[in-house]
Symmetry: C2
Subunit: 494 residues, 2 copies
């Protein structure tokens, strides 16, 4: 058991973070990147110790935990490289022009860090979206100290990861206060962290209720701060007619796998599948049902999540005109989630908001639309999503532009002929979408563009070259991309 | 007199805007840019008609009005060019790699428009930050329809500018509903616009009270939206010792001019000047005082602003230990603002929050710090600012790092040896700063980077080349900069 932080501890951690901020933000990009790589190395060093602890706390299997730890180290390295490349700084330079009336001054702009960032660990990714996860890596890359509130469901894992970060802090001689790890099972600690005057931004991955509450607190402060909550979504999948005719069985099998992968505990789990009434759709439904029956229940992350899954699933199944398509044939044990797929008609989906809600776990509902118009209607009534997926032939796409455009407008990532689970860590990734998927659709929490969440532009006007930061000096000593008089270039300025 | 919009009109305008959004967002970048250039041309065509109306409504002189109209046209052209260049789209491409386990999919990301944008006209810039001003230009460039609420103080000017936009809409055959102009003197119309389900973002320039209210409404919606309020600031100016010793008189004259330029009605007006007690500072104060005495009062934008100026100025002057340095020797007439400069000691400033507040108009206060430590203390206690300025020699900068760093942290634009008034329209400009200068320090409302306020990233995963938007196709038909596998390039992909 870990003890909740008390207000005095929070004050002291934030005061240290504020001090550290003013040192860390002046440090060269390379120093930040080396610090992040050192954290990765420390995590690698403790892999055999930490993986069993995470397995015990989360009920996730060894291969997943080793894979997720590797992904976490990869993120630290990749975002470190990105930080060092300087492309994210959006350096812009307009040189002086004294021939203009009035004379045009020399102005040079780059992104600078916001300040201490509070990160809330996610229950479903004990490594990749928790203590040393994506939000922490982005904040360090931007030049911000980090205060992590451990997720209580994997507090020991979090404590171990924090110790790896602190080792890297020492070895790389980073300022004291650049990282602090706090426990807190109740809401008080979280609220105190968000409301603290030195907190400059917040990163969160979790439920809609939790994420929205943090967002509201962030906005209600005397000085509002950005709160980036990634709150998941139902990730609709549209089965288009020609594709379904060609390969309904194959698609059904792929989706039964995606729905139950990791006991359905991914933000991008496909919770809603939409097709048009037809023999092909019936065949799809039957195949999914059979596959689901063959899939055994498995332990969920923690008892609270297992309980919420049962309640939300049962509530969805109780709705009028919802029928079960397939349920795992194996009886579940304590804290396990039973794979389940249901179905309902388009008109019932359109009139019943309960069916739009996420059921976090191995559950999905197949919506049977009476025709393409109803499918478009459904698309237009969906809330914001992290992902949308089309299972479609070229012909399906070309002949259904209205549907394509409607779906484009509600999601952050638009997949064709694939499954939404599996979020690649790369610059082109968008993991974020219109509310309620996230609180700010303009940013991503996966990929190096996530660094920009924790930075703001600062313009220097009329400064002498030698007094400017290296990033903006004429000679471009860091050799970074900059937009000089509206042209992207790495050239020096003469 | 214009009549306030009624709810039915607002509903109908927003429904049209929503329709138009789905057409406009698919239109090529060049079409958007041509539309914006056409607005500029229409404004140019009506210059001689519109300038006298604006002069009458705002009390601003002809040269200023002609200059501001030229700037407005320049903005439309410059942001149109920027839209067409495609650099702002942040196109990112990571190509597939089937050798990886699991295989890495092809992912391509670009910015897409948010949806209809509501723009509130600013009283102090009837052209450049109103109906066809910076916010409107950025929204059109991003691919968003615009609904403008006219500022009631220059409703006729706004109506005329709106007619120019509508002419361009017709000539360029843009979708009906891409632009709508609404009057509303009370808060009801503004609130209804911000709360409307189809409103996707808001742009505002004006007072802290007004801007913060819109921000709160935006966050209280069922689906929160970004509200970009630029709410002005006191724009502190730090007089450093060596600079003051070398040129106190010259600096004083430049600042007397900046304080009273445009009757002090700029967001970047220098309302706070901070020096260290010395003979040089006394000389500076005396010179400013004399210059201010020589400057005649002038008519402010409207009676409400003139009244607020008098009240806030008088309140500031009534505070303990505040003394007057100089007041215009000319008696003011109705609705005029009297140039005024006051002074107070550092310790009184630190203990009295009233002295931190903006007095919108030709007013500034000189703070006399007892030493550099107190000057640093003052810097650390300042709220967020659009600009900060140093009047300093190289030596002043090099020997006062703590002050430099403290000031860097509170502002969006950091000027040396210049005046903050005069906001250049260019890509490197940052017009935005930590709260309460703006509601979101991560964005600017001047310069083409302001386009990004109204867009969000959308990633396409696994799409065939021919089905992708032109911006992301292998052959790069628009010849734009893109980051392909982490390298910035204009090359095609093979």
């Amino acid at each position: 058991m870990f003890i909740d932080a008390i207000p005095k501890e929070i004050d002291s951690a934030m005061a240290d973070a504020w001090q550290a901020f003013h040192q860390y933000r002046k440090m060269p990009l390379k120093v930040r990147a080396d610090f992040m790589r050192a954290i990765g190395q420390e995590l690698k060093n403790m892999e055999d110790e930490i993986v069993p602890i995470a397995m015990k706390e989360t009920n996730l299997p060894e291969a997943r935990m080793r894979g997720e730890l590797a992904r976490t180290i990869f993120q630290l390295n990749q975002y470190g490289d990105a930080a060092e490349s300087g492309e994210w700084l959006e350096a812009r330079i307009d040189t002086a022009n004294n021939d203009k009336t009035p004379p045009k001054p020399d102005i040079r702009k780059m992104l600078v860090p916001l300040g201490p960032v509070v990160v809330f660990g996610a229950s479903n990714f004990p490594f990749a979206y928790s203590t040393a996860g994506g939000d922490t890596a982005c904040a360090f890359a931007a030049g911000c100290p980090v205060i992590v509130k451990a997720h209580p469901a994997h507090a020991e894992t979090s404590e171990k990861v924090a110790s790896a970060i602190l080792k890297a802090v020492n070895k790389q001689k980073m300022p004291k206060g650049i990282f602090f790890h706090i426990h807190g099972a109740g809401v008080e600690v979280g609220k105190a962290l968000v409301m603290h005057e030195h907190t400059s931004a917040v990163g969160f991955t979790g439920s809609l209720g939790g994420g929205k509450q943090l967002f509201d607190w962030g906005n209600q402060r005397k000085v509002p701060i950005p709160v980036f909550s990634e709150m998941g979504s139902v990730n609709p999948v549209f089965l288009l007619p020609e594709k379904l005719k060609n390969s309904s069985e194959e698609v059904a099998k792929a989706y039964a796998g995606s729905i139950t992968q990791g006991v359905g505990q991914f933000c991008t789990n496909p919770g809603l599948i939409i097709g048009i009434e037809s023999d092909d759709l019936q065949k799809f439904i039957e195949t999914v049902g059979k596959e689901i029956e063959k899939t055994a229940p498995a332990k969920m992350l923690h008892p609270g999540i297992a309980k919420a899954f049962d309640e939300k699933r049962d509530k969805a199944l109780e709705q009028n005109n919802v029928t079960t398509v397939g349920v795992s044939a194996t009886l579940k044990k304590e804290n396990e989630g039973t794979p389940t797929v249901a179905t309902a008609a388009g008109k019932d989906f359109l009139s019943n908001p309960v069916l739009h809600q996420e059921v976090f776990g191995p559950y999905s509902i197949v919506i049977r639309c009476k025709d393409m118009n109803e499918m478009i209607e459904v698309a237009k009534h969906l809330e914001g999503q992290l992902t949308s997926t089309f299972m479609a032939t070229d012909n399906d796409i070309i002949s259904n532009e209205e549907l394509v455009e409607a779906v484009k407008n509600i999601c952050g990532r638009f997949i064709i002929n694939g499954v939404p689970t599996g979020v690649e860590v790369c610059l082109s990734m968008q993991h974020g979408g219109p509310f309620p998927a996230t609180t700010d659709s303009r940013f991503t929490s996966v990929g190096a563009d996530g660094i920009k969440r924790f930075a703001r532009p600062l313009a220097f006007q009329n400064w002498e070259n030698k007094l400017l930061p290296d990033e903006l000096k004429n000679e471009n000593p860091l050799h970074i991309w900059r937009t000089v008089n509206n042209q992207l270039t790495k050239e020096t300025i003469h």
